[in-house]
């Protein structure tokens, strides 16, 4: 090997058809931390990380063999003892002295590697977000249509003037409930759009949390009664925060309605309020279906719900907890979910800065 190639600012090597190293330049030896005699007659696999080796054997070598030339392939080398070096490789087949050889040029890409990792991460996040949006639109179109269909169905029934009073009463009840459900879904979507665009403004004042919780319980109590779910309150008095009372009530309503939705008939939901130092803690605990360990880190992400409403068991857009998290964070607080696992209940804890 001439001196120019030996000292070139990139790695260079030559292998035979069966992967035996016949040439390697000093630049590459230095990069890998080998002495020349350590690699005498060695196999090229000795230079690669395990992952690099698989990629070389399954992609690189077959393609090089078939095409005679490869460019800009990303591989990872292994520097003793175990450090990996990302490289871009160009390779070409050459015939010399009636034998086939493959010449490789290898360029380390440390900085580019970090940059590409970031691009890949962003690409995957964008793909996931896009998939979530697609799922969300599918759920929205389904869930918005469901209450409408109930309304239209009962309106058709009401056209019949011979309906008895009991049936009319039932129809009105279902129509009212369906309209309310739809209003709730639309409000969730609008709220989320406001939050996403940063347009949601808080109207803050000194808020009595026990009063807010009491209001939320009053709104949700009929739903809890229908499922015979006990709502147990343990509310410390005189716990105040600076916040938007209607938005805090929305948070509480979301947490309570979620707890009731995922708790089977005859279960129990506990609401605790206490002040510890300068923090007001609200904890909603239920005896419901719980949250699996793999879902737990994502419960406050938008569009996540234990069971897709499209498949049936639980309706909703999966926006409630995401909205709750955003509202709590807008108040300078934190929200946390805990669960011992599926069918073992769940607890959501909201911590807000207390006001005097």
């Amino acid at each position: 090997m001439d001196e120019l190639l030996d000292q070139a600012p990139c790695g260079f090597l030559t292998v035979t058809d069966n992967g035996r190293l016949v040439e390697i330049n000093t630049t590459l030896l230095d990069l890998l931390g080998y002495r020349r005699e350590q690699l005498k007659d060695a196999q090229i696999k000795k230079l690669f990380s395990p992952a690099g080796n698989i990629f070389y054997q399954t992609h690189f070598f077959p393609l090089l063999k078939l095409q005679g030339k490869l460019e800009e392939v990303y591989l990872s080398l292994r520097r003793e003892p175990g450090e990996e070096i990302p490289v871009l490789v160009n390779a070409v087949r050459r015939e010399r002295q009636a034998a086939i050889f493959y010449d490789f040029v290898l360029v380390p890409v440390h900085h580019r590697n970090v940059y590409e990792d970031e691009i890949l991460k962003a690409k995957k996040e964008a793909e996931n977000a896009n998939r979530s949006k697609g799922d969300f639109l599918s759920v929205v179109s389904h869930d918005l249509r469901t209450p409408l269909m109930a309304i239209f169905g009962w309106m058709e029934i009401l056209k019949n003037k011979e309906n008895d009073a009991e049936l009319v009463k039932k129809a009105m009840k279902v129509i009212k409930r369906s309209a309310e459900a739809q209003r709730g879904l639309i409000e969730d979507v609008l709220d989320f759009a406001r939050i996403s665009s940063g347009k949601l403004q808080l109207e803050t004042s000194r808020v009595d949390l026990a009063e807010i919780i009491g209001n939320a319980i009053e709104l949700i109590s009929s739903t809890a009664d229908e499922k015979k779910i006990g709502l147990i309150q343990k509310l410390a008095p005189n716990v105040f925060v600076m916040g938007d009372s209607s938005r805090l009530q929305q948070v509480l309503w979301n947490l309570l309605s979620n707890a009731i939705k995922f708790t089977p008939n005859g279960g129990r939901v506990d609401i605790h309020l206490e002040q510890v130092g300068q923090t007001a803690n609200i904890k909603v605990t239920d005896t419901g279906k719980g949250i699996s360990a793999d879902l737990l880190p994502y419960v406050f992400d938008r569009f996540k719900q234990g069971v897709n409403s499209k498949t049936g068991q639980y309706s909703g857009l999966g926006l409630g907890l995401a909205i709750a998290r955003h509202l709590v964070e807008l108040h300078g607080g934190t929200i946390r979910a805990d669960s011992a696992g599926e069918n073992k209940g769940a607890a959501i804890t909201v911590a807000l800065p207390a006001a005097d």
């Binding site: 058809d17 069966n18 992967g19 035996r20 196999q43 696999k45 990380s49 395990p50 992952a51 690099g52 080796n53 698989i54 990629f55 070389y56 054997q57 399954t58 992609h59 070598f61 077959p62 393609l63 063999k65 078939l66 095409q67 800009e72 392939v73 990303y74 591989l75 990872s76 990996e84 590409e116 691009i119 890949l120 690409k123």
Partner: protein, 268 residues
């Protein structure tokens, strides 16, 4: 239906013989990898070459994530190709992951195959010490998936604009597409997961079709001990060690590979 299957898997038939010799490529490549071996058998055999869905010239639109989430889906493709061609007494030659795919197909339909020839097979690539050394840790496979992501990302960003500009030059587009043997990074990734996370050790004892296991002395992916493990677990199997290196002896040492296959077929 028949035509769909043959198109789906880009099936190519050649040869002047009557005995059916089916070649199945490994992960990362396509039927072109048999270019140095298959022609040697054309005089005496009917040669069947194909691409798995997602590889080479297969119909990517036929890819079903559920079906191909494990090797059984690929084994179903092998069986469907055989049925579509009304093949009987098939000699199945698999490379790498295709060895287990062929084995699974033979377990489901043992009467369809007369012999399995397995070139550098592995029933499980992950180490489960102390009893079994497959060659890799799970982290190594995750590293492979990262490498694939990066290469396919670069390749896709390069390919897309070229394809768009040369839509009227299909030969150029095809050449580019062949520069990586799968045109869909997601499919390749899932094939890698199905290949390297599979554990088919328990299936080995169910293989009743006589088999030849060809292992190389210095295989960069499947250690010799894996071939020996398979030989012990597979009743009616023979083991041949090739004095070769790498993981593609049919490409790096085609003459020896041809000779070993021919010897085996002549003897049986």
């Amino acid at each position: 239906m028949t035509e769909n299957i043959l198109q789906r898997n880009n099936v190519k038939i050649s040869g002047r013989g009557t005995r059916n010799l089916m070649f199945a490529h490994g992960f990362g490549c396509d039927q072109n990898m048999w270019r140095f071996v298959a022609p040697a058998f054309e005089e005496d055999f009917r040669i069947i070459l194909f691409d798995y869905v997602g590889s080479g010239g297969s119909d990517v639109g036929a890819y079903q994530p559920g079906r191909y989430s494990n090797l059984n889906g690929y084994a179903q493709d092998v069986l469907e190709i055989c049925d579509a061609l009304d093949l009987k007494d098939v000699i199945f030659v698999g490379h790498s992951v295709s060895c287990m795919i062929g084995a699974l197909a033979s377990i489901e339909r043992p009467g369809l195959f007369t012999h399995l020839i397995q070139i550098v097979p592995s029933p499980c690539y992950i180490n489960t010490p102390p009893d079994y050394i497959g060659g890799f840790e799970r982290a190594d496979i995750e590293g492979l998936l990262d490498l694939m992501d990066k290469n396919y990302l670069g390749w896709a960003s390069f390919l897309a604009p070229v394809v768009m500009k040369n839509i009227d030059r299909p030969e150029l587009v095809q050449e580019l597409e062949e520069s990586f043997c799968s045109i869909d990074p997601e499919i390749s990734r899932r094939f890698a997961e199905a290949t390297f996370y599979s554990d088919n050790r328990a299936d080995l004892a169910k293989i009743t079709v006589p088999s030849l296991i060809i292992q190389v002395l210095d295989d960069a992916i499947a250690p010799v001990s894996v071939g020996e493990f398979m030989h012990r677990a597979m009743p009616g199997s023979a083991l041949r060690l090739m004095d070769a290196t790498g993981h593609c002896p049919h490409m790096s040492h085609p003459r020896e590979t041809i000779a070993i296959i021919r010897d085996y077929l002549d003897a049986v």
